[in-house]
Amino acid sequence: MPKQPNTALLQISGKTSGALIELNSVTKQYPNQPVAAVENFSVTVQPGELIMLVGPSGCGKTTTMKMINRIIEPTSGSISIDGRDVLSLNPSELRRHIGYVIQQIGLFPHMTIAENIGVVPKLLGWSKEKTNDRVDELLTTVGLEPGDFALRYPKQLSGGQQQRVGVARALAADPPVMLMDEPFGATDPITREKLQAEFLRLQASMGKTIIFVTHDFDEAVRLGDRIAVLSNRSRIEQFDTPANILTNPANDYVSSFIGLGTAIKRLVLIPVTEARLGPASAAPASATTVRTTDSLRDALDSLVLTGLPALAVLDEHNQGVGSISVDRISAVLGAEVPTLGSEA
């Protein structure tokens, strides 16, 4: 039987959505290395927030994340979840309350999908029925039919399906905190986009506090509530919402990391309904239309593809509510984007 967790752990495990995470002057210095891997890193993550740590390879973003569940032990500094000092807890018991997803997924090949998802519930001493119910529920949540997938083995699944199981496994015990290390990095672009969309939908209903590591700035813009742009030794160059970073990069490092096409990247964040739509009659007849749920980036994409001056915008009942054109998209971004035409 598992030991009764101490009160601090109960405090963390008692909630299933959102916990406050605080890192204070966290430093990781490996022995025999001239410079620290992570130096003086401080950040406060609000409950239910999805924070992206983004930076080039080797900048220490993964090390920073792995110190939260103590896969890597910090040299100094403090880390707390909901005010409880993480470093004073038993690491194995702590980790059962922190969801963990890595790029290589790390499913156990000798266990079925159901057994993989049931690992943490089993460690927590859940009953068989409760675990089984939870496995079915989670498989359904990530879009895999339990009857079809529960008894399969990881090698019988595609990469995208495996990563869905990886996410389901991390969610098994409904932890308040999730750590994700480039979880969609190894999938092809189409699968990645799909997984990202599903993940956003999932997070909207769960409200976990999530630390998400990526080197892909576009992914950070798409998923993050706030983005921490990191340079060497996990130095925070800017920590702000995607829109603010795109509009006002703090320095040259951030600008160069964002790269070209900031206007187009910003469009991802803005729904079509933000634009002042033209009259529905302005759109020439075309099979291609834009949905009110689409982003301006989707609208621009369709405009460029069709070459038409404007496209009809339809609501969820397929009713035309107006039309969208390139100049109406430009208008949303304001006067700061004189180069939009050449970038598109």
Binding site: N69, S92, R95, I102, P109, H110, V119, L123, A170
Partner: protein, 220 residues
């Protein structure tokens, strides 16, 4: 001395119950030794797999044991353990340890780092990881080691008749010590063929054992 096939068949017909008994003994002493060596070998492997120094020492020691000629090893064990099953089993266990320990260490270390990390990251203790992740994943490799040990010990067990050990070696030694007599060749030949036959049967059995005891998710 010529091989008389009819004589050999008559010999088998007359002594089939002796032959079966020796086959049974041979199989029993090998199985017993392998089970003991499996417990010791996997246990030692689990203790040293992540400690480079201990690991090298253990594998070197098991390697040395394997280089001792079987006749010499039995002669060394004789004054301490006497005659019969005890020195035989001890010698066979010593020969089995190298392939089993080595394959256990290799198998436990071969688990990809990502799987180790996700196991720890989910809150398994290092011991749970060893028991529930590494050992099951290493199992086919460990079994390969046991299979090699089985082939080795079936042969060595024949020599154990030197210390009055059980098995087909008794026939071989009886034949060799009575060269010239009518049944000498029949004894030696029956013992030898029995060992070869047993080796083939046991090897085939391992295919089945591996299949049954390995997770479907690990099979190629």
């Amino acid at each position: 001395m010529n091989l008389d096939l009819n004589g050999l068949l008559t010999f088998w017909a007359r002594r089939w119950d002796d032959i079966l008994e020796l086959l049974g003994e041979h199989l029993t002493v090998v199985t017993l030794s392998l089970v003991i060596a499996l417990v010791i070998g996997v246990g030692v492997g689990m203790l040293v797999w992540d400690k480079p120094m201990h690991r090298s020492l253990v594998i070197a020691a098991a390697g040395v044991a394997l280089t001792i000629p079987s006749l010499a090893l039995l002669a060394l064990l004789l004054p301490i353990f006497g005659l019969g099953w005890t020195p035989t089993v001890i010698a066979l266990v010593m020969y089995s340890l190298l392939p089993i320990v080595r394959n256990t260490v290799v198998g436990l270390r071969e688990v990809p780092p990502a799987i180790m990390e996700s196991a720890l990251g989910m809150g398994m203790t290092p011991f749970t990881v060893l028991l529930r992740v590494q050992l099951p994943m290493a199992w086919p490799i460990i079994l390969t080691g046991v299979r090699v040990a089985a082939q080795l010990t079936i042969g060595v067990a024949a020599i154990a008749a030197y210390v009055a050990g059980p098995g087909l070696g008794q026939f071989i030694f009886q034949g060799l010590s009575s060269l010239g007599s009518k049944n000498a060749l029949n004894f030696a030949l029956t013992g030898t063929l029995g060992v070869v036959f047993l080796a083939l049967v046991v090897d085939a059995a391992f295919v089945g054992i591996t299949r049954i005891t390995t997770s479907r998710g690990l099979r190629a």
